[in-house]
Symmetry: C4
Amino acid sequence: MSAEQVSDTKDDQNTGLSARAQRNQRSIREDGTFNIENKGMPLFRPDDIYLGLLTMPWWKFSLIVISFYVILNSLFAAIYYAIGIDHLTNIEGTTQWEKLLEAFFFSAQSLTTVGYGRVAPVGITTSSVAAIESLLGLLGFALATGLLFGRFSKATAKIVHSTNMLISPFKEGTGLMFRIANMRETQLVEVEVIVTLSKITVEKGREVRRFYQLNLERNKITMFPMAWTVVHPIDETSLLYGLTHEEIKYDDMEFLIYFKGYDETFSQNVHHRISYRADDIVWGARFIVNYELQSNGPTIHYLNKVSDYELTDLPVISIENEKDRKQLVQ
Amino acid sequence: MSAEQVSDTKDDQNTGLSARAQRNQRSIREDGTFNIENKGMPLFRPDDIYLGLLTMPWWKFSLIVISFYVILNSLFAAIYYAIGIDHLTNIEGTTQWEKLLEAFFFSAQSLTTVGYGRVAPVGITTSSVAAIESLLGLLGFALATGLLFGRFSKATAKIVHSTNMLISPFKEGTGLMFRIANMRETQLVEVEVIVTLSKITVEKGREVRRFYQLNLERNKITMFPMAWTVVHPIDETSLLYGLTHEEIKYDDMEFLIYFKGYDETFSQNVHHRISYRADDIVWGARFIVNYELQSNGPTIHYLNKVSDYELTDLPVISIENEKDRKQLVQ
Amino acid sequence: MSAEQVSDTKDDQNTGLSARAQRNQRSIREDGTFNIENKGMPLFRPDDIYLGLLTMPWWKFSLIVISFYVILNSLFAAIYYAIGIDHLTNIEGTTQWEKLLEAFFFSAQSLTTVGYGRVAPVGITTSSVAAIESLLGLLGFALATGLLFGRFSKATAKIVHSTNMLISPFKEGTGLMFRIANMRETQLVEVEVIVTLSKITVEKGREVRRFYQLNLERNKITMFPMAWTVVHPIDETSLLYGLTHEEIKYDDMEFLIYFKGYDETFSQNVHHRISYRADDIVWGARFIVNYELQSNGPTIHYLNKVSDYELTDLPVISIENEKDRKQLVQ
Amino acid sequence: MSAEQVSDTKDDQNTGLSARAQRNQRSIREDGTFNIENKGMPLFRPDDIYLGLLTMPWWKFSLIVISFYVILNSLFAAIYYAIGIDHLTNIEGTTQWEKLLEAFFFSAQSLTTVGYGRVAPVGITTSSVAAIESLLGLLGFALATGLLFGRFSKATAKIVHSTNMLISPFKEGTGLMFRIANMRETQLVEVEVIVTLSKITVEKGREVRRFYQLNLERNKITMFPMAWTVVHPIDETSLLYGLTHEEIKYDDMEFLIYFKGYDETFSQNVHHRISYRADDIVWGARFIVNYELQSNGPTIHYLNKVSDYELTDLPVISIENEKDRKQLVQ
């Protein structure tokens, strides 16, 4: 069998993906994340806080930084106020609220180490608190530096994939195809793709979900400046050989695509996951070339035409070894 | 022989792990570190100081930072005091102790570059010391920034493994199994496991410890969103074939597991080591599925049920090639 | 066939490089970038801004930093001025322009957190703006730190290659050769080269461009302290076997070279692309040794002699299997 | 032939290492660097400045930082002085020299952003220069942060190797052995070794230097907590088979060892090069075990005993295929 059979006859394999059969479920969501929710993690996980700060959206990150700044300053303002506002020089406020506010601004000036000095600490207690606050400010800033750098320097793949998978003419028969391209300015090299077919199959009278790695015409390319059409040839060894669209839907097929490349600019590996379902397949179509050669100048590559296809006729294949295929799948 | 024999007939192999036979010893401790103590390192190893600051617990790291801050400020306070406290403006203390304390706070304001300026240096010597101190402060802060970033950005695997290894039914025979799952929010990809069996064997009438790599049903998976049950099939080629629990204990077996994966978020490889001993093996049991499919929503994956198993019957195997096995082990 | 045929009989392969035939076009420009222009990217791509700041030339980067500094300070100066210049202490300017300028310098002192304090904020509104500005300053500085570090720590290969490809005597026949060397002080290890031949070929009466990976005498070396002459042996299995210079030009051949190594100092993989065209080939020449052994001291390696060659005679080869070759190419 | 022959019959191969024959030369120096000097690099290489700052010793790095600080402050002091010292507040110096010094200290306070404010800029020109200086200070500091982090976070292997190579008994014959161990606290995993033999050989009546990769008993280990004895079995396929110590010296043999491992803590690959010459070989000796098992506690591993060996007898081997060997080497 050409496709390595990921599955066996055990009750449940626990190989990282569910083997339970349920229809109309997808393993991978459209955004590339797994359709899984973890339970049983400890409530307080300090290791994952950095991770959260690294991956959350920018507006959330900004909000947290500002909240932190306000809360910390309020806290220190309260401390300075409690010690006695007369230990700060040049306090001009007359009401208690104004004095508290001035303590707040002094705190901000200490935390950011701007330290204008119009308001300055006098006396041992207030000076000690100010010394602690500016150390805290420096360390907090060090942390922010690391976080900002971490947020920016994280290489992420931005891969555009065709909306549909196509059943297209391929060599003497047909092939299952999808097209991907790199949406970023960075060059990806040594790009690799693994396509796993997830389908419901019947074992010992029971429906189970099994995973099979699909054969590809080519699973690795060295350079990736323009779109790549990944092809699974539907030949005699293919699990899709001779299947109709209805059969593919009935088996609740999902195609899990794992994409891996090396980002030249970030010097890091990047990954991406795509999931196609039976409904995404178009029968008898082929991708339209999405670039234009110029007689004088560079080739124009249209990233917004990666999904474009045109209908076409498929060659007729006589499925005489239908029985063999059935045996393969079992 | 299916398992690559790591060992040969030399006196001692020095292949990174001890070949001396001693009972009730483990090569890898429960926390994944090696049960080895190095001697003969130079006392002063500057290269390892950064490493220490990077890997020590947070409370220890904080303590070192604070101590450093206090000691450095005390030192500079002494210098300012020695030069003459009258070279600092606006010193209000009357006793020597108060003056020294004010010098301390001025030092803190210079080191953190907050520089309020109420107290400021006058005169060449004091100004020079202050110039040196603020440079030192900046560099120290630069160092802290690097350290904090280094501490956070270090990818570490947090792998939960089942408390026990199980001898479970597997295909027509049995298999030695353990289950692992990822405890962190980050996705691990291209996960690989190597299981090395460490056991006492008799060579030329002498007991020696030998290491054998065990065959696995599957030693690599591409995606690892849920638990993975790693299986060593106990077939005719297995060193465990036909052994009883007592024989496994008598040979003082230890299973050294080397785990490797690529952390998508940190773009780094992560590693983990696990060690099981003969006492950790449960005969005739199988893992309970630790996830639940939902008809509407994501699959629920219970990380706290990775160790859960239920007892089961094992198929009876006739060990007719017992003699062959004995020869294999020798 | 020795060279893996990257190409098949489909209309267009979309394997990352164009299959359309057009003469006098190159896939890779002389600076190693692809001769391709992407269209259809979204206008605002925040992810690529960091990338731009990372890879732009230094003069551009400096200009952006300075502009940012001036614009931000002007903006805050306007705000302070709008609130009321009397909320800043010690403003000495008499005209409105002078007052605005003093607000500008106060802003600069807040943004850089230098905060001399001669001019200091008084009152709630101005103090609040100043508190926001110094936070902004700190974060902007954090960003600059990350950017500067990112710009410097990016490992880039600086590979010098011979100006020409040579057809030289090799073993009993000839070989196509080019020479590369490392221009940087860092050591590259595990250096790998892939040479792809791009040529126009006739399929079904139509000219198409096809890509073939060329066989190399050796495609990987462990150590790369001196120049490496990469050799494609022109034997019976070679697509160049028996071709004349005119035929090579007629097929509009381009040699796409993908270079990969591991930079020991940066602990990163580095990549490089080179492109040679038919015009760059010299027939009957060989590279001159570009190093000198010293009886007492290190070997002298001349990086400026990597391209140096001398003319030589080529062995005469009888092309009796011309017909076979033609079939190979089809 | 078991050893991959790196060499062929060309005049010079240019495969990164010299093929010219010269006696008493080594390719790799004792510190692991190549015995090669590059000429023809451009004089001004901005890309290598960062590299230099990254790899230079600490005393040199500190000196450069301090010099930079002093020179920059002197420069700005001169500018402030030229503009007019009366544009700085509270200048107390009476002589020109004292005034210049006060400008110097004001500059230091601006550059480090400590900004006490006793001395503060007044007027547009001086304020502008101060604004530029504090921006420069911030950026310079950002640079220092990156450099310090870069210097610390660079993973470097610290491998101790045995002083000598030993010809020891191995299986039924002999083997060429050396022992290596990790001198750092970090764990190295997936450690790999490549041993290349460099020797003078006679081709077409001329002495040339050729390189051969030696067969190893094992060239990769997964875990490296203790010493590893790397073994080249001297069997019939070995280039050393039947050679005497004098013959090895006559051929001016050098053993080039390339070491590669993955540092778990730094998440980076580390590399190391070792070179042994014929004089470093001890005939008839074996390494003494350099660790001690404890009945209660961890195994003690002596890093200072990695080189320790004891003399032993070698098995006598009849070299009947001497003629074959000679042919192999040619």
